[in-house]
Amino acid sequence: MTADILLQVLVSGLLIGLIYALVAVGLTLIYGVMDIVNFAHGEFLMLGMYASFWAFTLFHVDPVIALPITAVLLFGVGIVVYQTVIRRVLKAPMLSQIFATFGLMILLRGLAQFFWKPDHRLIPDSLVSGNIALGPVQFGLPQVIAALGAVGVTGALWFFLHRTRLGTALEATAIDREAATLMGIDGQKMFALAWGIGAACAGLAGGLIATFFPIFPEVGSNFILIAFVVVVLGGFGSVTGAFLAGIIVGLIEVLGGFLIGPEYKTAIVLSLLLIVLLVRPKGLMGKA
């Protein structure tokens, strides 16, 4: 019995952890390329969820099928945000950048409420609804699909960054902007690309969790703190770090909540973050 519960808790933690990882990789990518912390990242997630919701409601396209569309849409949103706002604060001090993305966060929430009402919505019957039981362990199919999707997207991102020309250029910009510019890489283009990809990752995460999570304008605020924790724990700018940290955070959160008390689950995760930072001031895989 106890072993069963433990196993169940670990599986649940792993599933949610993979989703945290997916939300966080976009955030960490943007940070890695241009040293900007995007406070509006949770809102990209929210937009991704709404994109799935409308695709389902208006065109009866299942969120899972709509994922590519969601990704493309959010890629566009990321580019637009970059071109209209971020590009203009590139040279500003860190505080102005925080200010700008914070404003963006409020703006996107406001717009969502304006256009789509503050209501909570849910996609009632996705393709992937239902449950699977594996021996004593139960899990929701949506969660499993979302977790698998998270692995897939993160893997694809890793492949893109390390095995394609464009991705390598992006990675080069992340490592040394000036050197990359000297090598003929267009920095502006890379930044825009980072925002596009970052937003698309958040959008994909949104599309994947839209199958089981309520959708509302403020939904980003549920995820953003955890996403920050994952990014910092993994080390700002490290995609692999964020992936690992996401899983760790998911496991610790669910396990800690189960063992110590759910009211402290966030505190447990945050304490872990502080402890790790004390030992490794740049996170688990942060670049020195």
Binding site: I98, F99, A100, G103, A112, F114, L225
Partner: protein
């Protein structure tokens, strides 16, 4: 003594005029809601100036100042409720408790740099919020209410808004004076040196930890005092109103909007931010369509995009470029 250390008479005159204006302002206001509006501005300004000491001058961006604010609010309220202590004493006690907390938290956190430091401050503040929310001793999420029946100067509870106005004006003046004194002393120079080039500062004998801790402690003390004032004004506090991240962000926003590292920037920032916030809400908030948030957000983004140095930076740019303006006596 070099003549430059003497007060610039024009600035002194300006300060006196500003203070006189602030002192006389309530005389022309009969409407308590409008007076309340000015109190909110002064509260925002006081917190902004306090944050600016560590976040602006010393360049250590804290996004967890709500923890000090909450400590101040809870400390004075608990002392008043359990021991019947006057909030004036509670305010000082809250400030000191915040200093102790700042030292404990700063010691490890100051090993971190930049965004890592900022994130650590968020984490600390969130943890404290969770602990307070689950603390039986502090009444958890239920919060603490101050009784209405004990009013008067000693209890710092008033039926009229006017005493609150003057108290917070007094606190703001004290806070600005502290910031001013720091700015002019060697500590202020050290703060700016640490912000600009920490390594170079060390090579000149500046202990980073020591001066960062000084900055955080002073800032924490003043922020806690602001928290105690909030408790006295609203007479009800709960973790959700004094320990939340939104407070931390707002405190920083006030300073950033006005211009970090300038003495009066946060005051200007508070005037603008609170005005936009209050009036976008009263004018558009009642529609329930989120318009107020949209307007508020647009303002924030515009300032961030067009004026990275805050409104104060804009004003200085203008002064430098406008023909016939006085030669730049600005030293920064």
């Amino acid at each position: 003594m070099s003549n430059r250390t003497v007060l610039d008479p024009r600035k002194a005159l300006g300060a006196v005029a500003l203070l006189a204006f602030a002192l006389l302002l309530p005389l022309g206001i009969t409407d308590p809601a409008r007076l309340n509006f000015f109190i909110l501005i002064l509260m925002g300004a006081q917190l902004g100036v306090a944050w600016n000491i560590v976040g602006g001058y010393a360049g250590q961006v804290s996004l967890g100042h709500a923890v000090f604010y909450g400590i101040g609010a809870y400390c004075s309220t608990m002392l008043a409720l359990s021991l019947g202590l006057s909030p004036w004493i509670g305010m000082l006690a809250g400030g000191l408790l915040a200093v102790v907390f700042a030292l404990v938290m700063g010691w490890p956190c100051f090993r971190l740099k930049g965004h890592y430091f900022a994130m650590a401050t968020i984490a600390v503040a969130e943890i404290v919020q969770i602990l307070v929310t689950n603390s039986e001793f502090l009444e958890g999420a239920v919060g603490l209410s101050l009784p209405l029946d004990r009013s008067g100067l000693a209890a710092m509870v008033f039926l009229s808004k006017l005493p609150y106005y003057y108290i917070i004006l007094g606190l703001l003046v004290v806070t600005v004076l502290v910031a001013w004194a720091i700015e002019r002393s060697h500590i202020g120079y050290y703060f700016r040196a640490i912000k600009d080039e920490p390594e170079a500062a060390r090579a000149l004998g500046v202990s980073l930890t020591r001066y960062k801790l000084i900055a955080l402690s002073v800032s924490a003390f003043l922020t806690a005092v602001g928290g105690s004032f909030y408790a006295q004004k609203e007479m009800f506090i709960d973790p959700g109103s004094v320990f939340v991240g939104a407070i931390s962000i707002k405190i920083a926003l006030v300073a950033i909007l006005g211009g970090v590292g300038t003495l009066m920037g946060p005051v200007l920032g508070a005037v603008i931010l609170i005005t936009i916030e209050e009036y976008s809400r009263t004018l558009f908030g009642s529609t329930g369509s989120g318009t107020d948030m949209i307007i508020y957000a647009m303002m924030i983004i515009l300032v961030a995009v067009f004026s990275p140095a805050g409104v104060m930076g804009l004003l200085q740019d203008l002064r430098r470029h406008l023909p016939g303006a006085g030669k730049t006596s600005e030293t920064r």
